[in-house]
């Protein structure tokens, strides 16, 4: 009797979880732990820290999986507003070595810009979800305005890389919701025209350097171009089957900076080679397409846009990070989802999957 009770409690607890997606996520997380051990100089303490973050992330996933889309939608404006307030707080109370990105409270350090990766798809889905295409210019303008505001708050930290990602996520959710060609062309033209002005007035010199270096990393092999050159060496020297676990000379001897965070992929590629890289990319693709499959479920547009938006956010992160490690994207300081060391990104990414699973589960359940 009691046993039945517990069994059913557990089964209720895990009920919203998507088995396939969970299996894929756990596979990537296993790789993540493996490579973090190596990238942190075989430090058990750092690996344990990473494991704890994964644990918290999985709890967040589980928790989010039980929040119905209806609640999520109701809280979307408040959460977004709270996120904006946190970003403003960062401007005044933030900490960080080169830019102010963190809010610290005791032992807890929070990166509010990471939370935006959840709240942006939520707010866009909130505004554009209820109405059917063709969407009114007012709604689109409002959405764009909010995305721009969030982008600006991140950009002044300054964290240009994350700001660009945020705006890209926002715009991609808007595209997903369906806008007319006029809007697409207009936005394209606007950004094309504003580009020189952004370069001239909005960018700081080191940010311009990053972009210059992106086009010509060898120009300053020991300065800003150093990271990319070392990262390419790591990836390329991995060969077909890699140097073997914990055998990355690029990371172990500190030639590759940020090797447990932004450049974790390079270490992975160096140690596990092309075979490992192919496996990881296949896993990411499988996750993405599983997310696409989830979004199909509901006739609920909010859920669909939310799932789709979070999925596109994941795609953008993976693409930009991997492209960066082989010199195909500027060094922006964005992590590789699920693999990089760092609490805020890990927890918000896993929480996003919880939201996607909830959106699908309850949409599904409602229409059954």
């Amino acid at each position: 009797m009691a046993q039945h009770f517990y069994t059913s409690a557990v089964s209720r607890l895990v009920e919203p979880l998507d088995r396939t997606l969970m299996a894929l996520l756990l596979a990537v997380l296993a790789l993540s732990l493996t490579i973090q051990y190596s990238a942190n100089d075989m430090s058990l303490q750092a690996t344990q820290q990473h494991a704890i973050r994964i644990g918290i992330g999985l709890l967040a996933l589980l928790a989010m999986a039980h929040i119905t889309p209806r609640h999520l939608r109701r809280w979307a404006p408040a959460l977004f507003l709270l996120n904006l307030l946190l970003l403003v707080a960062v401007v005044f109370y933030g900490s960080g070595s080169t830019a102010q990105r963190w809010l610290s409270y005791g032992p807890i350090a929070l990166q509010p810009s990471e939370l935006l990766k959840l709240t942006i798809p939520m707010i866009v889905a909130y505004i554009l979800g209820p109405s059917l295409p063709p969407l009114s210019s007012l709604r689109i303008s409002l959405t764009l305005g909010l995305v721009a505001l969030a982008t600006w708050l991140v950009a002044i930290q300054p964290d240009l890389g994350t700001a660009l990602l945020i705006s890209a996520i926002g715009v991609s959710v808007i595209l997903l919701a369906g806008v007319s060609r006029r809007w697409i062309l207009g936005l394209g033209a606007l950004s094309g025209i504003s580009l020189p002005f952004v370069w001239q007035y909005a960018l700081r010199e080191y940010q311009k350097d990053r972009i210059r270096i992106f086009f010509n990393p060898e120009a300053d092999p020991l300065g800003s171009g150093y990271n990319v050159i070392q990262s390419k060496i790591a990836v390329g020297s991995g060969g077909l089957s890699g140097k073997g676990w914990t055998q990355s000379t690029q990371a172990q001897f500190d030639f590759l900076p940020e090797h447990s965070t932004d450049f974790i992929f390079s270490v992975y590629a160096e140690e596990f080679g092309l075979i490992g890289v192919a496996l990881l990319i296949v896993l990411y693709l499988a996750i993405l397409w599983r997310v696409v499959a989830l979004s199909r479920a509901g006739p609920d547009r909010f859920s669909q846009l939310l799932i789709g938006g979070l999925g596109l956010s994941l795609l953008l992160h993976v693409l930009i990070n991997i492209a960066m490690t082989i010199g195909y994207a500027p060094v922006t300081g964005s992590p590789l989802p699920l693999l990089s060391y760092g609490g805020s990104a890990m927890i918000s990414t896993l929480a996003a999957f919880g939201m996607m699973m909830a959106a699908r589960h309850y949409a599904h359940a409602r229409h059954k």
Partner: protein, 611 residues
């Protein structure tokens, strides 16, 4: 709008959104696959290129500098040694804010402006290497820096071998010193042999035997991290240390000689006549050789260069002096050999000597004149008029070639850099130099070691040694042997030439006269011969610094800088000479009062081991 159409619209829009999502994700997936393709290309076709770069990154060939050969004296006393010293070094390219780091280091260590300048100059050319900011740190500074080191990335406490000279100032001119390898050095040295080595022998023995002392660098293949710290050694080829040198120098004698010269300007050269071994070679004032390596204040070097007494000049081989009366034994031999001086033949020495067509007479130092003298007693009493007359009668044509046989006016081929030749004048030289003929009066004054004649203390000493060996001229040498692979390789004595006399008894004649200089009642250096446990052959000399012409005031009443130089040459024991020497004290006055007592001290020290 009816609920039905609304529901239909919703369905349509959901399907549409789904299509768009698939399109976007599809496009993204394609990009991801293209990245995979690119990575695949890097990891297969191009992997060798990246592997080479990766290996180059972390496997470093680190040269291991050899330890420099040690220098010993003839009895095995250590003269030059290597000890571990520490420098504060940085890799300029790895420091973000160089100025901030330097000013932080200046709080920890006493770093001079000039050291910062030097570091910045060096740092330009060796951006990626550890470049010393301050060398020879005190223990206190090492401790202070070591505690802070973890907060100072790319700052290193580097151990290096510092050269220490046991006898400091006393051997500074002989041993020389080490200096940073200059641009000029770089052009002529084998850079491979200097890998890992920062310093090169700059003067003295350190320079002369640089190639023996240096050794051969080893090589270590090590894994290094991005900061250049060596983590694991793979392969190691040990360096071959430099060869140890054994010098002919007697360290104790050297110290006695330089102590005897303390506060004076001048030189002492002591030679073992039978071998040419330099037993002592002193030049004062000297300098602290550490100034070149471990100076606290770089101004010390500037002070050395600016010092009016010129402590960097090695007077023993570079100082050129009029020999004064110390030339007389050699002039006497020239006279005997040429037949112008005849043993035991009496000569009346007036207070002055006159030659035809010369208005000015040549005065003797003894106002009343010496009266009846012979060639022997002229040496003993240092009679000027006898030697004026003898030189005049011989003429420069006979005098100059004979003196040249003793090596006067020539370098002695001593194994020490910078030796000067002095000057033994003759008619050709005069014509070439001044476009004038040689005047007989110039021969006359050369008879008492004045005029154009200039000799180095080394020449005087080797010539004296040749008197002791009855004409056998041994090449003076400082290197006795060196140690190579545990084997002693001797540097054999070498004969430079022989002075032969028609009658060998003339050697005895001159030697006995010189013995009388020290031991006879009327000898000029009799005070220095008192109570000697052995017999000394010597000759005093007083060389004029300024020509006063006819009226010559007593030099000792003059201010120091124009006072006469005081000289003394000697060898002992007369029966079997073990040591020959020359002593010069600049502005020391009479040879008998300054130089002779110093010579006696040195002889006692060597022969009686009265150290």
């Amino acid at each position: 709008m009816t609920p039905a159409t609304q529901k239909g619209d919703l369905h349509r829009s959901v399907a549409q959104t789904h299509r768009r999502l698939r399109l976007l994700v599809g496009f993204g997936s394609l990009l991801l696959l293209l990245l995979l393709l690119r990575i695949g290309w890097m990891q297969t076709i191009h992997t060798a290129h990246f592997t080479a770069l990766s290996t180059e990154n972390h496997l470093r060939q680190i040269p291991l500098p050899p330890s420099r050969g040690l220098i010993f004296d003839r009895h095995g006393t250590l003269l030059a040694d290597n000890s571990v010293a520490y420098s504060l070094s940085l890799v300029p390219s790895q420091v973000d804010d160089l100025d901030a780091t330097i000013s932080k280091l200046r709080e920890l260590a006493d770093i001079h402006d000039r050291e910062v300048q030097r570091f910045q100059q060096r740092g330009q050319s060796s951006k990626f290497e550890t470049t010393p900011l301050k060398i020879d740190l005190s223990e206190e500074t090492i401790a202070r820096v070591a505690v802070q080191l973890h907060q100072l990335p790319s700052v290193y406490l580097e151990a290096y071998a510092a050269r220490r000279y046991t006898y400091g100032e006393s051997t500074a001119h002989v041993l020389g010193h080490l200096a940073s390898i200059s641009k000029r050095d770089r052009e002529r040295i084998d850079l491979y042999r200097y890998r890992g080595t920062r310093r090169i022998g700059r003067a003295g023995i350190e320079h002369q035997y640089e190639s023996l002392l240096l050794g051969t660098p080893g090589l270590q293949q090590a894994e290094v991290n991005a900061q250049g710290r060596s983590l694991m050694v793979h392969d190691r080829k040990a360096p071959t240390p430099g060869n140890n040198l054994v010098l002919t120098l007697d360290a104790d004698l050297q110290r006695v000689a330089s102590d005897a010269m303390a506060g004076l300007e001048g030189a002492i050269v002591a030679i073992e006549p039978s071998t040419g071994d330099i037993l002592a070679l002193v030049s004062t004032p000297s300098f602290d050789p550490d100034v070149f390596g471990h100076s606290i204040d770089p101004n010390d070097y500037q002070n050395l260069i600016r010092d009016a007494k010129n402590p960097l000049l090695n007077r023993a081989i570079q100082g050129q002096y009029a020999p004064g009366s110390t030339i007389k034994p050699f002039v006497a031999l020239a006279g005997l050999e040429s037949g112008h001086a005849i043993p035991d033949k009496q000569f009346f020495a007036a207070p002055q000597f006159k030659i035809p067509n010369y208005r000015r007479p040549f005065r003797d130092w003894k106002d009343e004149g010496h009266g009846w003298v012979t060639v022997s007693s002229s040496i003993t009493q240092s009679c000027d008029v006898y030697f004026y007359s003898l030189a005049y009668r011989m003429g420069i044509e006979a005098l100059e070639p004979f003196l040249a046989q003793f090596g006067l006016g020539q370098t002695q081929q001593l194994d020490l850099p910078g030796e000067r030749p002095g000057l033994l004048p003759n008619e050709t030289w005069k014509q070439k130099m001044y476009g004038q003929p040689w005047y007989p009066g110039e021969t006359v004054i050369m008879g008492i070691g004045q005029g154009y004649l200039l000799l180095t203390p080394l020449q005087l000493a080797t010539a004296t040694a040749a008197l002791a060996t009855r004409g056998i001229r041994m090449k003076p040498r400082l290197l006795r042997a060196y140690e190579q692979d545990g084997e002693i390789i001797e540097n054999p004595p070498e004969e430079l030439g022989r002075v032969t006399l028609s009658n060998p008894a003339w050697w005895d004649l001159v030697t006995n006269a010189m013995v009388d200089v020290v031991h006879a009642e009327n000898g000029t250096a009799r005070r220095s011969g008192l109570d000697a446990a052995y017999r000394i052959a010597g000759k005093t000399g007083t060389a004029q610094v300024i020509n006063y012409g006819e009226k010559r005031p007593d030099s000792e009443d003059l201010p120091e800088h124009i006072r006469d130089h005081s000289l003394f040459i000697a060898f002992a024991p007369v029966e079997a000479p073990e040591i020959a020497l020359a002593v010069i004290v600049e502005h020391g006055g009479h040879g008998s009062t300054m130089a002779a007592p110093i010579a006696r001290q040195v002889l006692d020290a060597y022969l009686l081991r009265a150290l």
